[in-house]
Symmetry: C2
Subunit: 234 residues, 2 copies
């Protein structure tokens, strides 16, 4: 769930390039808007331009980079508007996942969610935001997986990649009181799922996503939508 969005069936070198580049982008190792040179990366990976080029092509389809013909390839910089849209989609998909999971009844994912929340409670109790952030990611992933719809899962992964979510979670959890609130909301959602109340589960889950989005935006100072000409990391 964490990596591999599309369907990279390729066995070798190209897959590595794609995975590595994707990781760098969503982790924020390369800055949004930064140019990505085929040649430089090819040298770095010790391969020719071709696989790098094909990797770019795929990452473009995934929405992680933008290829401007004859100009260069750049890490995409989601505009404020796009971030809103992405969260709208996140809300939609996660809400649906909660409902679908509730409909499925007793499946292994339920237990794993329970276990996840137990750990999360402990992490919140000792104010371990680092670990809690991981657990939050796992919770949402489990929810999606539990919906048992591969298409939903694929679209969701693409979405999260575009949001570079791992970076964002921490920001939102730095809001005072947010971890505790978040943890409570997770509990409520799981409870409703176990009760097979799909409608409520979806509703609460959507509200949860909105709350997390608010917490996130409150923690973001400058949007920085401008396509920075910053030549960092060339």
């Amino acid at each position: 769930m964490t990596e591999e969005a599309g369907g990279s069936t390729t066995t070798s070198i190209q897959a590595k390039v794609i995975a590595e580049m994707r990781a760098r982008i969503i982790s924020g190792e390369v800055d949004p808007g930064a140019p990505l040179s085929e040649l430089v990366l090819a040298d770095e990976f010790g391969v020719s331009r071709t696989p790098v080029r094909e990797a770019f092509k795929q990452l473009q389809t995934e929405g992680l980079v933008e290829i401007r013909p004859r100009v260069g390839t750049f890490v995409t910089t989601p505009s404020r508007r796009e971030i809103t849209e992405l969260f709208e989609m996140k809300e939609l998909l996660e809400g649906a996942a909660a409902r679908l999971l509730a409909q499925r009844g007793r499946v292994p994912e339920i237990d794993r969610l329970r276990h996840n929340l137990a750990e999360a409670d402990a992490a919140v109790a000792r104010d371990d935001r680092e670990h809690y952030a991981e657990l939050v990611g796992e919770f949402h992933d489990l929810l999606i997986t539990g919906a048992d719809n591969s298409k939903l899962e694929a679209h969701y992964t693409t979405l999260m990649n575009q949001l570079a979510y791992p970076r964002l979670v921490k920001t939102s959890l730095d809001q005072p009181g947010r971890p505790l609130q978040s943890d409570r909301e997770h509990h409520l959602v799981l409870e409703l799922i176990i009760q097979k109340d799909g409608d409520s589960a979806e509703q609460v889950m959507r509200e949860h996503v909105r709350a997390s989005r608010r917490a996130l935006l409150a923690g973001l100072p400058a949007p920085g939508p401008g396509p920075s000409t910053d030549p960092a990391r060339t």
Copy 2:
């Protein structure tokens, strides 16, 4: 909306190949499971293997073809299960679009939807299924566009491409009484949207999608999920 799913910013030849191949696949001009040779297509388009290859890469990410390394590229054959999943997503996205559109209030798309339904009524009245099928597609597209969320639109387009929807619509409309029923449901949805009743609009829209899916599956004889080794069109 009909073509261009990902973000093919490329200016020239490669974009043509992608568009053409996509059109052929969703129109059913090439059979599902059929092999696609880089060399053959390169010859046909009068270009080298490279752009064809890159086009394949993108189409793979879109879920239209499957590249088996060192073996070949094949038109994807959605399994019965995948079709179910795709419809689940369709229901989800179109339902959400209806709700979002209702929330937006009076926008140009509303009028275009009205006009579309007027034409649709006429088409149904004279039993012009061909034209009605087109109008149905337009109705759904307008709905999505009206939601004013580019991410939703992008995901929706990908979805429809994977379903090769244009082919399917006609099948479902061949069910007796389905066009009339479909038209009525469209009217109801639009009515609810105009009344700004987002919740109901979403609910009815989702029911409509389910109904259309039922009509479709009733008209499909054999699933044929097997990855046919049929070497047609080599």
